[in-house]
């Protein structure tokens, strides 16, 4: 069953008539993880934003986005807003910038949960505490009362994952969730993302530069270049028998770069 189906997605800049995504179609199956890889500027982030209808003003999109049989592209703004966070959640690349710098991080969590569930303060605290302990964040209550600059990128990333655990959406869109982190934090965050999938059973759209991580986490892969999908298939197929020369190039160059990460993952599997 398809959790999300995208048909003929086209995204363009209204002013310059510059086409960013030409004609993308792909499916995200229930419970699976679909990775999008590709060079910088290939349109990965724009694809993610388009699915949530959160493109910048001036960027237009057309095409169908079908979520559990419902056409998201036809929903009213208000209905669409209810889906965001609750049904389709997002985890951003840079935790430091994902939270309002002048509020303590708990404010975002509280506002989000209140918006979707209308919970009381104590209910929210209880649920957040539990979820934060799950992602190995110590002293949850203290942490929620800190400002973003007082926490590390990895902690903020895990906080986003904890919030997603509580919201338990059907789809998580993670746009390069590990790129801004050092290798150790990357490893922890990937572990937690996998934990998140296991415990909520959600589907995941995972954007990454790091083919090592993709190989570990994704069931299927899309390869994008210049706003077009040049290759798609199961992770194994794409990595072992890539058809497109660009994909082969990516796989050969990234294999070396991803070596560090793979080593850590293997060590972890051995323990």
């Amino acid at each position: 069953m398809n959790m999300l189906e995208v048909r003929h997605l086209k995204v363009w800049d209204q002013k310059s008539h510059n086409v960013i995504i030409h004609n993308s179609s792909f499916q995200l199956k229930a419970g699976q993880c679909l990775a999008i890889v590709g060079e910088s500027g290939s349109g990965k982030s724009v694809t993610c934003r388009s699915l949530m209808r959160l493109n910048k003003p001036g960027i237009q999109q057309s095409g169908e986005i079908v979520f559990k049989g419902e056409y998201l592209n036809q929903l009213s703004d208000k209905e669409m807003r209810k889906r965001r966070g609750r049904n389709i959640g997002m985890i951003l690349q840079n935790g430091m910038r994902a939270f309002d710098p002048s509020s303590v991080v708990g404010v975002h969590c509280k506002e989000t949960l209140r918006e979707h569930f209308g919970w009381s303060k104590s209910e929210i605290e209880e649920k957040m505490t539990k979820a934060m302990e799950r992602v190995l964040l110590k002293h949850p209550m203290e942490l929620l009362n800190k400002y973003p600059y007082q926490l590390s990128g990895g902690m903020l990333q895990r906080l986003m994952i904890a919030l997603a655990l509580v919201l338990s959406p059907d789809i998580i869109i993670a746009d390069e969730p590990t790129t801004a982190l050092d290798t150790i934090s990357q490893f922890e965050v990937v572990e937690q993302l996998m934990g998140l999938r296991e415990s909520t059973g959600c589907s995941m759209l995972f954007v990454s530069h790091d083919l090592g991580v993709v190989q570990k986490i994704a069931d299927e892969v899309l390869v994008m270049r210049h706003g077009e999908i040049v290759e798609s298939g199961t992770t194994q197929a794409v990595f072992s028998e890539a058809q497109h020369p660009y994909t082969r190039y990516l796989v050969s160059t990234r294999r070396e770069l991803g070596a560090n990460f793979n080593m850590m993952m293997q060590e972890d599997n051995m323990c």
Binding site: R84, G89, M90, L92, R97, A98, D100, P101, E111, L167
Partner: protein
């Protein structure tokens, strides 16, 4: 936060000393002997050496310089700024009510500036590039370019004379505020709302706005976060503009016959009434320092990073 406030306030004390000292020596910069100025101002027919000596003694001008300063400063702290050279009334009895009137005008204008700048700035930013945004920006450009005395005359002519809706001068009722406040605010609003607008637009591109929207927060909530982050720059400017308006009401007060500091100071300068000028300069300078400190404190409340550095 409390500690930060105390520190900021303590840090402003040396500055206040310097200012008071400069204000004090102002009077000694005058080429004339102050005693002589007093006598002339009181229109004494024949100024003799003896009379000058007497006056010097009476004014305490024979004491050592530093003593004079400390005496004066201690008196000022008790709001005793001496007596007017011209009328002999205490300076405070003249400048106190005038200061209050100017302060009222300034605070009402500042409130209008702050509220309208934020309302216009936020709305233009949220409707960037639309007709609303463009027409508000165009109109503000026009209004900012008008000289205030010209705008004041036009408004008096139209609203007071032609339509007979508003009083032309004085401060008899709340309606008296409308014209001067409008004339003062228009220029500032034109500048500050652009400021609010552009910092809002910068914030709109921040990741936390995307994350907020992607989490399903309402636009109202998100706008509040954006506003809070974009106000930091605006707050400093708003706070600094209060003493600037306080000091620049001269034109407006004279056009609208507002019984405030601006009018009093012009009158005193023309009659060389030094104690009043001195008190006027001192009050404005202190207002500058205080509002500057207040803006630092408000900014620290808005921005947690600033607080930590202290």
């Amino acid at each position: 936060m409390g500690l930060y406030m105390v520190k900021k306030l303590i840090l402003s004390i040396p500055l206040l000393f310097v200012i008071s000292f400069l204000t004090f020596i102002l009077i000694n910069l005058s080429p004339m002997d102050p005693a002589e100025v007093v006598l002339r101002a009181q229109e004494v027919p024949q100024i003799t050496e003896e009379l000058i000596a007497q006056t010097r003694e009476a004014l305490g001008l024979n004491k050592p310089f530093l003593n004079q300063y400390t005496d004066w400063l201690l008196a000022c702290l008790q709001l005793d700024f001496g007596d007017s050279y011209v009328t002999g009334e205490s300076v405070w009895s003249l400048i106190g009510p005038a200061f209050l009137n100017t302060l009222k005008l300034t605070l009402v204008s500042s409130a209008a500036i702050i509220v309208l700048s934020i309302v216009l700035g936020v709305n233009c930013a949220l409707r960037e590039g639309t007709l609303v945004d463009q027409s508000i920006r165009g109109m503000s450009f026009l209004l900012t370019a008008l000289p205030s005395y010209w705008l004041a005359s036009i408004m008096i002519w139209y609203f007071s004379v032609k339509l007979d809706l508003l009083p032309t001068s004085g401060m008899e009722s709340y309606a008296s505020y409308i014209l001067p406040v409008t004339v003062i605010s228009v220029g500032y609003i034109g500048i500050y709302f652009r400021n609010v607008r552009s910092s809002m637009l910068n914030q709109l591109n921040e990741d936390y706005v995307l994350y907020g929207r992607a989490s399903g927060l309402s636009e109202k909530k998100i706008t509040l976060h954006i506003l809070r982050n974009s106000l930091q720059v605006a707050v400093s400017i708003f706070c600094m503009s209060i003493p600037i308006i306080l000091g620049s009401t001269v034109v407006i007060e004279n056009v609208f016959a507002w019984p405030g500091l601006g009018r009093l100071s012009v009158k005193s300068i023309l009659s060389r009434d030094f104690p009043i000028i001195q008190a006027y300069v001192l009050i404005l300078a202190v207002a500058f320092v205080l509002f500057n400190t207040v803006s630092d404190i408000i900014n620290a409340a808005l921005n947690p990073k600033l607080r930590k550095e202290f």
